[in-house]
């Protein structure tokens, strides 16, 4: 068993833009899995919609324009701009999982991290979360419900990563190549989203990215080294 602080896996997501239909099933799955509060109409109109993964829609060409979709979630940057700016270390890099984490109970809400995030994928709880009556029955007990005044964002479903790792450890074996599946990946109907360990050559993401000329990372020129690769063919028209 390796050192507990040493990363064993490089969790990576692959988003195939040519497969994405913009159905938003990933958004719903993420809300259900991660206890993401559902904001009401007036809040959404005030541009405070809160989704850890969102489908950015761009129109391409002259009318009748074609809609193109860009699923956008926390990129889990290797060199994340949100991390150095947090005055209280609420936005930190986990050594073990190689992920960018938000420590909810340390966050004081300076919101500096979102200003420095070029992808704008961090969400602030402007009010306390409110779950209407039946929704309280399906809150995920593995995930905290966040209070007002703090930032939150995609965790790559770290609760699922940990559960899979614990399961493998209790059975005395190594983690399988595609054993961890976040909620959005699990639910994606056209399998536009893939998730896995890039360092394991057997994993789906490693296979998908092996010498793939369609692979790119969003805003790569900023040097943030995101952990999410997008696959883009000739027809997807989404330009970065």
């Amino acid at each position: 068993m390796a050192d507990a602080t040493q990363a064993e896996h490089k969790w990576t997501m692959v988003v195939d833009l040519d497969k994405c239909t913009g159905c938003q099933a990933c958004v719903v799955a993420c809300h259900a899995e991660n206890n993401v509060p559902i904001r009401n109409k007036s809040e959404v109109q005030a541009n405070r919609a809160q989704h850890w993964i969102r489908i950015e829609r761009y129109w391409v060409g002259d009318p009748p324009a074609r809609a193109r979709f860009l699923p956008m979630l926390c990129q889990h940057c290797n060199r994340a701009p949100c991390e150095p700016v947090c005055p209280v270390y609420a936005s930190v890099h986990s050594q073990r999982e190689h992920l960018n984490l938000q420590v909810y109970n340390r966050c004081v809400g300076t919101r500096y991290c979102n200003n420095n995030c070029p992808y704008v994928v961090r969400y602030f709880n402007f009010y306390d979360p409110y779950f209407p009556a039946p929704l309280t029955e399906q809150l995920n007990p593995d995930v905290t419900v966040r209070t007002a005044g703090i930032m939150e964002k995609c965790t790559f479903c770290i609760q699922r990563i940990n559960r899979a790792e614990q399961q493998a450890r209790s059975e005395g074996r190594d983690l399988g190549p595609d054993e961890v599946i976040p909620a959005c990946v699990q639910t994606c109907p056209p399998s536009a989203l893939l998730f896995g360990d890039l360092w394991n050559p057997e994993s789906r993401v490693a296979k998908a990215l092996a010498d793939n000329p369609r692979a790119l990372r969003v805003l790569e020129h900023l040097g943030t080294e995101p952990a999410i690769y997008y696959l883009k063919g000739g027809k997807s028209y989404v330009r970065f």
């Binding site: 860009l70 956008m72 270390y89 809400g109």
Partner: protein, 482 residues
């Protein structure tokens, strides 16, 4: 610089035409320091408005106090309901609170900076007005320091930003510009408050010796047993020198650190290497304008035409013109480099400012900060007219607040991916808290003007002792003993 240097040669009255008496009369009218009067008279002029509670005092305190109260109540509401009551959104997460912070701390820094710089440069017109500048600093920095706290999502956890020992050995992140900012703001708060206080001691002693009632008790506490011995004066001068030099060093670094809050990010429009000096220039600019406003109001309300004269407005006006030109230069720098670069996102920031939803604020800012001062302040007649100076200074305050507002909210609304372009509009909470902060500063002046002497009287007396009229040939000149 004497007046005769500024006037055109043909306007200068020839010495031969005037008798010595007439010349002396003219000099005394123009210059406070040669218009020496008995100490008793000067004391009365300063202490009498301090003791007198006019008819307007209580209504003013009532209105201002109410505004300050609404500030606190709104803050309380915000803590209860959280930041949702403001106009912030998913994209623009910093707003008027931060703009207010940068604006007020700019005024604050300039106040003491100007007092310290003019003292070290030994510029004589500073003598009566440096207390106003220093007190402006103290109130502005207290008001400004509250805004980052109000801005926090969880205000009650603000102490987590401080490096205090705790069981879990959690420390603040010294890589974060906010921690530098906190350190800088707190050190400036401490230094400028002490600087103000050290300057106050001899005048507090004067008030202690000449007034009665509870003001005497208060001022005798403030005077710390000042007796005016030679050793005390020497210590005071040394302390003032140390603090002046210290403040000259601290002030540019503090405001540079404030600019780092923006410049250290990778947000287009913020990520600019010129932000440090640009912010310092803006800070001094707004500070000079604020001192002019305060000086004119004191001149008018306390009938202090004796202490605050045309020469002071003129000196401040020249200073204002100079800082305005420096600001123009840095603004141009900050503008032309991204414009020439034509990086798409940075170009979009500039377009949003100039032609997008920021255009009203942008062109108003240009008019108030660059155009109006440039086309008015060259003339001595404008600089010595108090209504004109008051109007120009208030416009400059508005322009500089708009400048910070544009930098914070409009730049932040333009992000790398066009899906995330956003618009910010302030709601009642921000507006109430902003007016409350201004009311707090004015209230501070109104209340403190009844507690302590507002003219640095010992410096005026010292100046009047040092500066004498000397006769050379047919003319009189002002000469200063060293």
């Amino acid at each position: 610089m004497s007046d005769s240097d500024i006037r055109a040669p043909q306007q200068r009255p020839s010495l031969g035409e005037m008798g010595l008496d007439q010349q002396a009369q003219l000099e005394r009218e123009r210059h406070l320091l040669v218009d020496a009067r008995p100490g008793r008279e000067l004391n009365a002029m300063v202490l009498e408005p301090m003791m007198r509670i006019g008819r307007a005092f209580w209504p003013a305190v009532g209105v201002l106090g109410f505004l300050v109260l609404t500030w606190w109540v709104t803050w309380g509401f915000q803590m209860w309901w959280n930041v949702g009551i403001t106009g912030l959104n998913r994209v623009v997460m910093w707003s008027l609170y931060i703009a207010n912070y940068v604006y007020l701390i700019g005024i604050a820094e300039a106040g003491t900076f100007i007092a310290a710089a003019l003292r070290l440069l030994d510029i004589d017109w500073r003598r009566p007005i440096s207390r106003i500048a220093e007190l402006l600093t103290v109130f502005c920095i207290f008001a400004s320091a509250l805004f980052p706290l109000a801005h926090l999502g969880r205000t009650w956890k603000f102490y987590w930003l401080l490096p205090y020992p705790n069981e879990r050995q959690l420390w603040p992140n010294f890589h974060s510009a906010l921690i530098w900012d906190l350190t800088a703001t707190l050190s400036y708060l401490a230094t400028s408050t002490l600087f103000f206080y050290i300057d106050l001691i001899p005048d507090a002693a004067l008030a202690r010796d000449h007034v009665h009632g509870w003001r005497r008790t208060l001022n005798s506490w403030l005077a710390l047993g000042w007796r005016g011995t030679e050793r005390q004066w020497r210590l005071l001068k040394v302390a003032q020198l140390i603090f002046s030099i210290g403040i000259l060093l601290i002030m540019p670094s503090v405001h540079t650190v404030v600019s780092y809050d923006f410049a250290m990010t990778i947000q287009p429009g913020w990520h600019s290497t010129v932000f440090g000096p640009y912010f310092v220039a803006g800070a001094i600019y707004s500070g000079v304008a604020a001192i002019i406003i305060a000086a004119i109001l004191f001149q008018r309300l306390n009938h202090w035409s004796y202490f605050i004269r045309d020469e002071h407005l003129n000196g401040l006006g020249i200073f204002l013109l100079l800082t305005s030109l420096v600001w123009d230069y840095f603004f141009f720098q900050d503008f032309i480099v991204p414009w020439y670069g034509q990086v798409p996102t940075e170009k979009q920031v500039l377009l949003t400012m100039m032609a997008g939803h920021g255009q009203l604020a942008f062109w108003l800012m240009i008019t108030a900060n660059a155009i109006i001062p440039f086309f008015t302040l060259w003339w001595r007649r404008v600089r010595t007219s108090w209504p004109a100076m008051l109007a120009i200074s208030i416009l400059i305050q508005l322009g500089l607040l708009l400048e910070r507002y544009i930098i914070v909210t409009i730049d932040l609304g333009v992000r790398e991916l066009p899906f995330n372009w956003g618009l910010y509009q302030p709601r009642a909470a921000e507006l109430i808290m902003s007016t409350g902060a201004v009311a707090f500063i004015v209230l501070g002046f109104v209340v403190f003007s009844k507690l302590i002497p507002f003219v640095v009287l010992y410096e005026v007396k010292e100046g009047q002792f040092l500066v004498q009229l000397k006769r050379i040939g047919k003319g009189l000149i002002r000469s200063k003993m060293e």
